[in-house]
Amino acid sequence: MQTIEQPTDTYNLPDANGRFGEFGGKYAPETLMAALTELEQAYDQAKNDVAFGRELHDLSRHYVGRPTPLYHAKKLSAELGGAQIYLKREDLAHTGAHKINNALGQALLAKRMGKQRIIAETGAGQHGVATATVCAMLGLECIVYMGEVDVHRQSLNVFRMKLLGARVEAVKSGGRTLKDAINEAIRDWVTNVETTFYIIGSVVGMHPYPMMVRDFQSVIGREARAQCIEQIGRLPDYIVACVGGGSNAMGIFHPFYHDRSVKLIGVEAGGAGIETGRHAAPLTAGTPGVLHGARSYLMQTADGQVMDTESISAGLDYPGVGPEHSYFKDSGRATYTSATDAQALEGFKLLCRAEGIIPALEPSHAMYTVSQLAPTLPQDAVIILNLSGRGDKDINTVAAVLGVEL
């Protein structure tokens, strides 16, 4: 059995300028710069405040339902005939996805800063629902920007947000998906910066967001690491997670950063296929660029215009990616691959059938990659799949693709 050592070397990125190597930064309009500095300072104080930590911890436990289980999927593992597969069950967190970890942390910070008006963007609607949920609980006003295309394909989540008291603004510019929702949320923030807190839903955007969202999501990896050691007495060999902006992946990857034996694999949305150009896989097929305040891998044209993306999964349908993932890619700490829409559907159906768990389409991409990886490994190898959300929201999409009328 390998010995488990606590990390000794230090990883302290981002630096003072919000950089992860050559990625990240603060490419923001001047109007927001003072607010970003204020946010950075407020977050720094909150992070070191025992009372803030206790409130976050208590709500995570009693409201969100943490820790989420690490579940040994024995039947799935046996069916695939290779490595042992463990599922980190973020789908069992309140509201059905990991997004609540970050929404709760940022909403508590907003309250602490005295901001009563909350704005958020959402793709699949999971971050919007999570934000609307914590705003209802904390008594904050909530406005969610959502691309018009996503409003239609995730109508269940739109209704949930409205029930929770949020206002949903359908965004009609650009490709009318997540990227455009972020544009509109930034425009709102520029206009209402003095009264408003912008809860970004992924490890994207200008510093300090990628760092802050990572920290709030790292609870996933801290739990998974401890649970893995407790259940099998050692660290896993692989961790696999889907990557859109990359918050669930960064949340589970980060606490394993120093555990060099643990291989980290991110799975992007391959859409209709990387070779078709119709996908959402900037780490797989993009080049460095600047979008939404950070330098990171980006899907862009020869003229530096940001491309519209395509994916069956609204939550992965984004042309950019968190800057720390770009750093992980270039430094080799993580590797990134992709799964197409059709492959994600295979992963979706596999998990439904083999384990009685209906996953969201986002982690279904990672499920597919695991289904290909596991058979190549010995039976004592261990893979943790971050099951970032449950699939109820995707039932209509899946039914339509399968030609089933509901």
């Binding site: 923001a28 109007t31 710069m33 520029v190 003095e194 003229d303 530096g304 940001v306």
Partner: protein
């Protein structure tokens, strides 16, 4: 002396405020831009901002968003915008030309290559609304090497510390954003902008131009009372878009001429007047 500095110096002597129209290059095609810009100058424009279209213009309101979408529909690239500047110079346009656009297309083009090509095309300055001083070192250095100005924006939320920092880096002029929000015509001139202009003046002698929300002659008059220039973007684009395609250049010229009448600043005192060596 750069074309920008010379233009502001001349206007100051004349007691006038600079009229700085913004048009989106390639909206809806490059030929339109090439026809409209000379007309704006004939109407009295002193400097011209050429917008570079971008897919994700986070500081723009609906008017300029739509303009960018139209320009992108006709595939207008940053290289095309540089071509527009070059052709305007070839046509004999002498006014300072500024490129205004988001950072990614410039980053993708290559910073040094962009600075070289912009200088060669006759561009005088560059405005990048998503490039604060924290991230501007590379572009500032490349533009300085070619004697081009990087114009920084300051806003009502800029702290004194930030104003100091920007003024140290800035050249050409300071773009003073009159309000919190995105671009777009407003009915009222922002009342709070005066105090911002005063704060900026404490840190620099550079000219100050006010932008965002300006649409009417009375806004120009109000800007003239406190600043050295006024930028007109969305309101101009609204006028151009509303006009028939064949009449856009005329519509632009008439609108700028109307605003120009309000651009006279308080007359210089007789003492100053004598100092200028007139007659």
């Amino acid at each position: 002396m750069s074309r920008i500095a010379e233009t502001f110096a001349n206007l100051k002597r004349e007691g006038a405020t600079a009229i700085i129209p913004y048009v989106m290059c390639g909206d809806p095609d490059v030929a339109t831009t090439l026809a409209v810009v000379p007309a704006l100058i004939a109407g009295g424009a002193d400097l011209v901002e050429l917008g570079v279209p971008f897919s994700d213009p986070i500081a723009e309101g609906p008017t300029i968003q739509r303009a960018a979408e139209r320009a992108l529909a006709s595939h207008t690239s940053l290289a095309d915008c540089l071509g527009v500047a070059q052709q305007l110079r070839d046509q004999g346009v002498a006014a300072p030309l500024l490129l205004m656009g988001y950072y990614n297309p410039i980053h993708h083009y290559g910073i040094v290559r962009f600075a070289e090509h912009a200088a060669a095309a006759g561009v005088d300055g560059v405005i990048v609304p998503d490039l604060p001083p924290e991230e501007a070192e590379e572009l500032t250095t490349a533009l300085k090497a070619k004697e081009l100005d990087l114009i920084f924006l300051l806003t009502p939320t800029s702290t004194d510390e930030r104003i100091t920092r920007v003024c140290k880096l800035a050249s050409g002029f300071i773009y003073c954003v009159s309000l919190l929000g995105v671009t777009g015509a407003r009915t009222e001139f922002s009342a709070s902008v005066g105090s911002l202009v005063e704060r900026i003046h404490q840190h620099t002698d550079l000219p100050i131009a006010i932008g965002f929300g300006i649409s009417r002659p009375e806004h120009i008059a109000a800007a003239s009372a406190i600043a050295d220039g006024a930028v007109i973007g969305s309101a101009l684009i609204d006028r151009l878009t509303a006009a028939p395609a064949s009449d856009r250049a005329n519509a632009g010229r008439e609108y700028i001429a109307e605003l120009k009448t309000a651009a006279q600043r308080l007359k210089p005192s007789p003492l100053e007047g004598r100092g200028l060596g007139e007659e």
